[in-house]
């Protein structure tokens, strides 16, 4: 939350992608998120009144990209949804919705992708496909993937594991 500029640190400073977040006001933090952070939620949080294509285009439009729809189309194709561009969230399965969310998070080429329990609302098989997509995107674009999970097996796929207990860092390990 702090890393994504959604909450402020009580003490100290937070620097992400070369920006000192403590010095940014609310609107600058929003712009910072748009440029540098992509978020994937457990409950997908797609905008129900927009199609898959429009959902992916939103961060691009907000960031002022000149070709948001072309880019969004490419991103959706990359997650295997080029047949579902004009579908509304309610017409998509849980796995498809999460794929749209991944495409949306990756579309502006953020420096960091934060994924908060991305498989929490999905069955095992679909969850595995989603994680593969996330890791593929992370490797292909060379972005930092911050994965929040209760699943030790999933955590083991990451380069670095920070264990939190009651809000405190309980240990850092490299699997």
């Amino acid at each position: 939350m702090v890393m994504a500029g959604l909450e402020r640190a009580d003490t100290g400073t937070v620097a992400v992608a070369g920006e000192n977040l403590s010095n940014l006001d609310e609107d600058s933090l929003a712009r910072f998120r748009g440029r540098h952070i992509g978020i994937v939620f457990q409950s997908f949080h797609l905008i129900p009144t927009m199609t898959a294509l429009e959902n992916v285009a939103v961060p691009l439009e907000l960031a002022g990209f000149v070709d948001p729809y072309e880019r969004a189309r490419d991103e959706l194709a990359a997650v295997g949804l080029n047949e579902r561009l004009d579908h509304y969230p309610v017409e998509l399965s849980g796995g498809e919705q999460q794929r749209v969310a991944i495409a949306r998070a990756l579309a502006p080429d953020p420096a960091i992708v934060v994924a908060d329990e991305p498989t929490g609302n999905l069955d095992e098989d679909t969850g595995k496909q989603i994680i593969d997509l996330l890791f593929a995107g992370h490797i292909r674009r060379n972005t930092t993937l911050v994965l929040v999970t209760h699943d030790p097996a999933l955590a083991a796929r990451c380069a670095r594991v920070v264990r939190l207990r009651s809000g405190r860092v309980d240990g850092v390990s490299v699997p």
Binding site: A30, R33, T49, V58, L62, E117
Partner: protein, 855 residues
């Protein structure tokens, strides 16, 4: 993926694009919003368009209404030869004389008529419509000593006669030859107390009613040979007449002010109805606020998502503001479209029967104004909840995060809301015909809003602090009143506004009806007798005292005069206050006396002595003098019978107008009009009021014995005014009904929004074992408690507002009528409780499983 990132400045159209995308899901949740704005805009657009169509009609028909390019009116005297020569030099002149008189049918029945004696060229403009049709000159011609007359059908109905019947007026006999269906210049005459009778001028002279001092008005209408649309020739002649014949004392009117009183009344009434329209918008505004709030509540997740994707708070605000404005435009345009049709609809349905020159047309200015009012109202009520979207926390999208949001928006949004409120108030005040009334309205509306918020807050505090009730139903009801997102503020505001308005209208309605009903004030006279020749005054007095010995007869001398100047300022340059303007509008009744008149109280200065014989003095009515800016010692010039008389204000009186006795604004010292011919005015009052039989006997016997004297039955006169008031009240009721519909809609919308959480509550409580009866009891108590407290406030607020309007603005006595108001408030509460319970009943019928699965 390889496409380079090219950042450009964000498009200004982005909020619109996002707003439209969001609205693709349909307008669900916005229906109440749209209808609320539409109703208010419709009322304002309708009233504005109707008034503009009427004003256009008056302007277009100005010459017809006036009867000429210019009209010169003299009171109690005909134009002197030099005045007549002046008029005839400049164009074709048509002369008409108007006066009141008694018309007696051969079977003895008598009634008051408004005579208009016309010449052979009447009317110069327009046409009189007769039934059966024929030439007017033929209908009025004298045949075998009997004059012809054209009568208003009402007169024939009142005297139970038909065409061919004979009437006596004064010393002359008339044959009613045809009925008068349309009189082209009727509107210029103002309200008549009797039906019209058209006769020839020879006939009027033959009646013998034209005595020195009789209340007759001579109208000289002029058709100018070259008066174009600019009216320049008429204006030039007006100036010339004033300069060359300053002593004439005539009232000169052009076609642009053919009926100034009617135009003023149209404007005043338009303002009143606009205020009712604004009230509809304000009440609807509460619905707008509710709709926006619940729309944004439903969109919280979307808003948070957008913020997570890089939208700033400002951006989110812009998107939803655009959405609200779009909805307001949809509502406004709908309302304006219906409002624009009003003049057409009225002209189509009532065109044949309304006596006004309505020219239905589209009035873009009025429509734009109504649309602006709609948009401004939407902004006033939506900016606050919109401002709160700025700080919708993104954190709520994450698991287990409880992210409370501050209840107030940021300062900048509070400032935006305040600016919108001020602009709306300024709009309402600056565009008003009478800014004082508008200011009072704005202050009252603001006061009612603030008070209702306080009532709601107080109820919630009291509910929170109330001791825990033992009965579960009561405990749940009290908890529902104060819990977060309780319905209390919304219900109190919408129901409270509705009841306040309902009680206001009912109280005003009741007071006006009481004022003009047949139940006269205890001391009010039954009759006025006009034009009693001075030499017959004693004879008349004896006659009446013999006929009705128990009744009280009061008699005073009476003349008519126009105020030419006051305090050294010519009347046309005076800037009177609203309540005093009428004194300058036309000629006024004047009297003289060396004693303080009954019904008057001296409040300033001293009364002149019984044998005063110095320069003319005048006693002025205090409130009118204040309205004209006059003080003791100022001089006043009145033109009586073509002579200017200057008098000094010696004292001021307060007059009890509502006694309906003989009251004059100006009472002169007895020596002021020495030698001037005049008549007497008398009133007759029965102890405890007269019966119809007693009054009919007096009308008949006075008409038979004193054909020159005009008898005005007070009840008939009040009925005539009451009839007009009844029409006005009907229009007010119609416009208020729209406001009440808005209030009901808002209430329904609020209850429907609450219904969603009720379904949730009901399901959970039923799962935990609550029976339907228990839940229904709890909700009944909740609605009843809120409803009763609100009704109490509505009663108090409505009564106070009605008092303010009746006593302070209309200057009438206010009598509180508790029962009708109470009944209306109670009915409103019953409706609320029933509505609430219907919603609850539906909620209680929900099966738990589908809802629990989606929780």
């Amino acid at each position: 993926m390889s496409t380079p990132k090219v950042a450009t400045p964000r498009s200004h159209w982005l909020p619109l694009r996002f707003a439209l995308r969001e609205l693709r899901g349909g307008l669900r949740g916005f229906y109440v919003f749209i209808v609320c704005i539409a109703l208010g805009s419709m009322t304002i657009a309708g009233v504005g368009s109707l008034a503009a169509s009427l004003t256009d009609g008056l302007a277009r028909e100005g010459r017809v209404i006036l009867g000429g390019d210019l009209a010169f009116t003299l009171i109690q005297r005909e134009a002197a030869p030099n005045e007549r020569a002046f008029l005839e030099k400049h164009g074709q002149v048509s002369i008409a004389a108007t006066m009141r008189a008694m018309a007696r049918a051969t079977h003895g029945q008598a009634t008051l008529v408004e005579i208009k004696a016309v010449d052979t060229v009447y009317p110069l403009f327009g046409q009189a419509k007769l039934d059966p049709p024929g030439a007017l000159a033929d209908a009025l011609a004298q045949r075998n000593d009997i004059f012809g007359a054209v009568a208003d059908p009402t007169l024939m109905a009142r005297l139970e006669i038909s065409t061919g019947a004979h009437l006596t007026i004064g010393n002359a006999t008339f044959e009613v030859r045809t009925a008068l269906i349309r009189e082209p210049d009727k509107l210029a005459g103002g309200i008549g107390f009797g039906p019209r009778l058209l006769v020839s001028q020879d006939a009027l002279r033959a009646t013998g009613l034209l005595q020195p001092g009789s209340l007759v008005r001579w109208h000289y209408r002029l058709r100018l040979p070259a008066n174009d649309a600019s009216d320049a020739a008429a204006k030039a002649l007006t100036a010339q007449a004033r300069a060359q014949l300053p002593e004439a004392g005539w009232d000169i009117r052009g076609r642009n002010n053919a009926s100034p009183q009617l135009e003023r009344n149209v404007e005043r009434f338009t303002q009143f109805l606009t205020i009712v329209g604004l009230t509809a918008l304000l009440v609807g505004g509460v619905g707008v606020g509710n709709a926006v709030k619940s729309h944004l509540d439903r969109r919280r997740e979307t808003i948070a998502t957008m913020k997570a994707l890089g939208a700033s708070g400002r951006h989110v605000f812009a998107i939803y503001l655009t959405q609200v404005l779009l909805m307001a435009i949809v509502g406004g345009i709908l309302g304006v479209a219906f409002g624009a049709l009003l003049p057409f609809a009225i002209s189509w349905v009532f065109g044949a029967i309304i006596p006004l020159p309505l020219v239905p047309a589209l009035h873009p200015g009025e429509l734009l104004l109504a649309l602006l009012y709609g948009l401004m109202t939407a902004l006033v009520f939506a900016l606050w909840p919109l401002g709160r979207t700025h700080d919708v926390p993104v954190a709520q999208l994450f698991r287990d995060m409880v992210a409370p949001q501050p209840s107030r928006p940021r300062k900048r949004y509070i400032a935006f809301t305040s600016i919108a409120v001020l602009v709306l108030a300024a709009f309402a005040i600056l565009l008003a015909y009478d800014r004082r009334v508008a200011l009072i309205y704005v202050a009252t509306a603001a006061g009612v809003f603030v008070l209702l918020h306080m009532v709601a807050a107080l109820m919630m505090v009291l509910a929170r602090r109330a001791p825990r009730a033992r009965a579960t139903g009561l405990r749940m009801a009290i908890a529902n009143i104060h819990r977060p997102s309780a319905l209390t503020p919304t219900i109190v505001l919408s129901l409270g506004l509705g009841i306040t308005l309902l009680v206001t209208v009912i109280e005003i309605d009741g007071n006006l009806s009481r004022q003009f009903s047949n139940e006269l004030p205890a001391k009010a006279p039954s009759f006025y007798f006009l034009d009693i020749p001075a030499d017959q005054s004693a004879h008349f007095e004896n006659f009446v005292r013999t006929q009705v010995p128990s009744a009280r007869l009061e008699e005073v001398p009476m003349l008519r005069g126009r105020i030419i100047s006051a305090g050294g300022t010519p009347a046309e340059n005076l800037k009177p206050k609203e309540e005093a303007a009428w004194v300058l509008q036309s000629d006024r009744g004047l009297t003289y006396s060396n004693e303080i008149p009954t019904g008057s109280r001296l409040v300033e200065g001293k009364w002149w002595g019984a044998d005063y014989d110095g320069p003319p003095l005048v006693s002025f009515e205090k409130r009118i003098a204040d309205g004209l800016g006059l003080k003791l010692g100022d001089s006043i010039v009145v033109n009586v019978l073509g002579r200017n008389i200057t008098a000094t204000i010696a004292n001021m009186r307060i007059v009890d107008w509502e006694s309906l006795g003989i009251n004059f604004v100006m009472v002169f010292s007895s020596n002021s009009f020495r030698g001037a011919p005049h008549t007497h005015l008398a009133t007759l009052a029965y102890p405890g009021g007269g019966t119809l039989a007693e009054e009919t006997t007096v009308i008949r016997s006075v008409a038979a014995s004193f054909p020159m004297i005009t008898t005005v039955r007070v009840k008939d006169a009040l009925e005539a005014v009451g009839g007009i008031v009844a029409n006005l009240v009907l229009a007010i009721r119609g416009a208020s009904a729209i406001t009440l519909i808005a209030a009901a809609l808002v209430l329904g919308g609020a209850l429907a929004a609450g219904h969603r959480s009720r379904v949730y509550d009901a399901v959970i409580l039923k799962t935990l074992g609550a029976t339907r009866l228990r839940l229904l009891t709890a909700y009944s108590i909740e609605y009843l408690l809120i409803g009763l407290a609100t009704a109490l406030f509505g009663m108090i607020g409505g009564s106070l507002t009605a008092w303010l309007i009746v006593a302070q603005l209309m200057h009438l006595t206010f009598a509180w009528l508790p029962w009708p108001g109470f009944a209306a408030a109670l009915a409103a509460v019953v409706v609320t409780v029933t509505l609430g319970l219907v919603g609850t009943y539906i909620a209680l019928g929900q099966k738990p499983a589908p809802i629990l699965r989606n929780l």
